[in-house]
């Protein structure tokens, strides 16, 4: 306890909430409020309505939601396979090899997402690999961007793994593949699902690279939100944003439930 007097503590807490609430809680509150409104000319929005949500249940907005879900699912599965494999391979290496893999797989974090999008455009707009204008290029961009996070989470989990389990298994005659499949992967399952949840959330909200390469028939939700706000329909943009946040939250909560169930095993 840093502040001992009662009044001092209350003063600190007041300052804290005066800073915290407007900066971090207010943004979510106003988006939620605006998604049910048609006007905002006073201190609070007016014209309560559900039409923005009804619009989402059909047409292009629904397509955008499914597009985002499919893209995020595909990208996080791919990222988990590539990033997880690389993290396991890096763990088996030592010294320079591991540092090289670390640097390579964390590099996409440092490179701006817009540049990742641009580089894919430059590379895959001409034969032999003509991906520009396909849905695949969006999934590929998302995979590149989230693989680093999958690698990082799995690598951290592998480093924490008690080597006694695999040593016992190996000393009992289990082959490396069997050790990996029956010992290491089950022990890593909680971290793998957590990594998948993180990748999914990041991919759901990815805008920068997507803006560079989305084809007209594959508009993810963030692009759709930008389109809505750019042409001035702020309120339907807010409703789409609420759908994006709720979907992300539901997936993250679901993943954390898997984690707690796996922890009992």
């Amino acid at each position: 306890m840093l502040v001992h007097s009662r009044s001092g503590r209350w003063a600190v807490w007041t300052v804290f909430f005066v800073l915290f609430l407007p900066l971090f809680a207010l943004p979510f509150a106003v988006i939620a409020l605006a998604s049910f409104a048609t006007h905002w000319s006073g201190a609070f929005p007016s014209g309560a309505t559900l039409t923005h949500y009804q619009d989402i249940t059909r047409g292009e907005s629904l397509d955008a939601l499914t597009t985002s879900l499919v893209t995020a699912l595909a990208a996080s599965v791919l990222a988990l396979v590539v990033g997880g494999w690389a993290a396991l391979a890096a763990d088996a290496l030592r010294g320079r090899g591991r540092r090289l893999l670390d640097a390579l797989f964390m590099l996409p974090v440092a490179v701006p997402s817009v540049v990742v999008g641009l580089s894919l455009l430059v590379a895959f707009s001409k034969p032999p690999l003509l991906l520009n204008g396909t849905r695949g290029i969006v999934v590929l961009a998302h995979t590149v961007l989230v693989t680093a996070f999958a690698y990082q989470s799995v690598a951290a989990a592998v480093a924490r793994l008690d080597p006694a389990y695999e040593q016992s298994a190996a000393s009992l005659g289990a082959r490396p593949a069997y050790v990996l499949w029956r010992v290491k992967l089950p022990l890593l399952l909680p971290s793998l699902t957590a990594a998948a949840g993180l990748c999914f959330a990041l991919s759901m909200g990815e805008l920068s690279a997507t803006m560079m390469l989305y084809p007209p028939d594959w508009l993810p939700l963030p692009v759709k939100i930008f389109g809505a706000t750019d042409r001035g329909s702020l309120f339907s943009g807010a409703a789409l944003a609420v759908v994006l946040m709720v979907t992300t939250l539901v997936v993250l909560l679901g993943v954390s439930r898997i984690r707690t169930r796996a922890a009992y095993r």
């Binding site: 943004p27 988006i31 706000t229």
Partner: protein
């Protein structure tokens, strides 16, 4: 660390089966498939970007595209805007994040745990939501100006900074402060409370305890969090795009407008190379800081 132990599973098989046992492949071979995937989807395209930046539309290889871009005022302004907004946001995030994390950790209140959970969720949301929210708070139609018009009866409110760099700065400070708070909270949980009690019983007031006991412990996490936020601010695109301001152009925004709106790929690649160089250099610094912090922590723990 798991690396310190010797692992030789292939030698540990109890009954050697001489003829059937395949020669074990070296371990680095297993790293090849993911590296090949990364090389195809990420490294090769990056190399092509660098190559394209040296290849003007007229053909050949030279630096003319660089000369052209560096000479344009648009690029120089974008570079300056990017750097000052990123530095300003980082300083803001560090100050704000330190203050908020300090309260959560050392002046605890009921619900503090839930608050740090909330911060974790915050990190999973996309950045442009903040700008969208700020449009409803400080926009021409919105809460702040609405309060003003309600109170004074005027036609419009005085708050109009969202389309200036200050709007971007506010959005970036809001979005990136949790990235500073998380490592700080982790570091604060390692601080021995007995140290604070002792300092306090020796007569040190709170500001002095913060300065002389807590701040030295927090410096590595501040450095790590700050450099990460600096890189992310340099690369931020969603916030700037949603602000929709014509006079706020950052490097990522310039890449986007050159490539997509003007179809000037060579120019976009030049800006991209500059942006990559800036960000990767800073990110290398961040990794070095984190590695040193981790090594220091291990030494202290041993």
């Amino acid at each position: 660390m798991s690396t310190g132990t010797v692992r030789t599973p292939d030698l540990a098989a109890p009954v050697p089966r001489p003829a059937r046992t395949p020669r074990a492949v070296p371990r680095w071979v297993w790293a090849l498939p993911p590296v090949a995937g990364l090389a195809l989807a990420f490294l090769y395209p990056l190399v092509l970007v660098v190559q394209q930046s040296f290849t003007p539309d007229t053909g050949g290889h030279d630096l003319s595209a660089y000369r052209e871009v560096f000479a344009s005022t648009g690029f120089r302004e974008a570079l300056w805007t990017t750097v000052w907004i990123a530095v300003g946001s980082t300083v803001g995030c560090l100050v704000l994040g330190f203050a908020l994390a300090l309260v959560i950790a050392f002046v605890p209140f009921p619900g503090g745990k839930a608050l740090s959970r909330f911060i974790d969720i915050f990190l999973a949301f996309p950045s442009f939501l903040i700008t969208l929210a700020l449009l409803f708070v400080y926009g021409t139609v919105g809460m702040a100006n609405g309060l003003w018009t309600d109170a004074t009866g005027a036609a419009g409110g005085p708050v109009d900074f969202l389309h200036t760099p200050w709007g971007v700065l506010l959005a970036e400070i809001t979005y990136f402060t949790p990235f500073v708070m998380r490592p700080l909270l982790a570091a604060f949980s390692q601080v021995d409370t007995a140290q604070i009690e002792v300092a306090s019983s020796l007569g040190a007031k709170a500001p002095r305890i913060v300065r002389q006991v807590i701040l030295p412990e927090a410096l590595p996490s501040l450095a790590a969090g700050g450099s990460l936020v600096l890189v992310m601010c340099l690369n931020e695109f969603g916030i700037v795009l949603f602000t929709g301001a014509k006079d706020v152009t950052t490097l990522p925004m310039l890449v986007y407008s050159k490539a997509i709106l003007e179809s000037d790929y060579t120019g976009a690649c030049v800006v991209a190379v500059v942006n990559i160089a800036l960000s990767v250099a800073l990110y290398g610094l961040y990794r070095a800081v984190v590695a040193r912090t981790a090594a220091g922590g291990r030494r202290a723990g041993a």
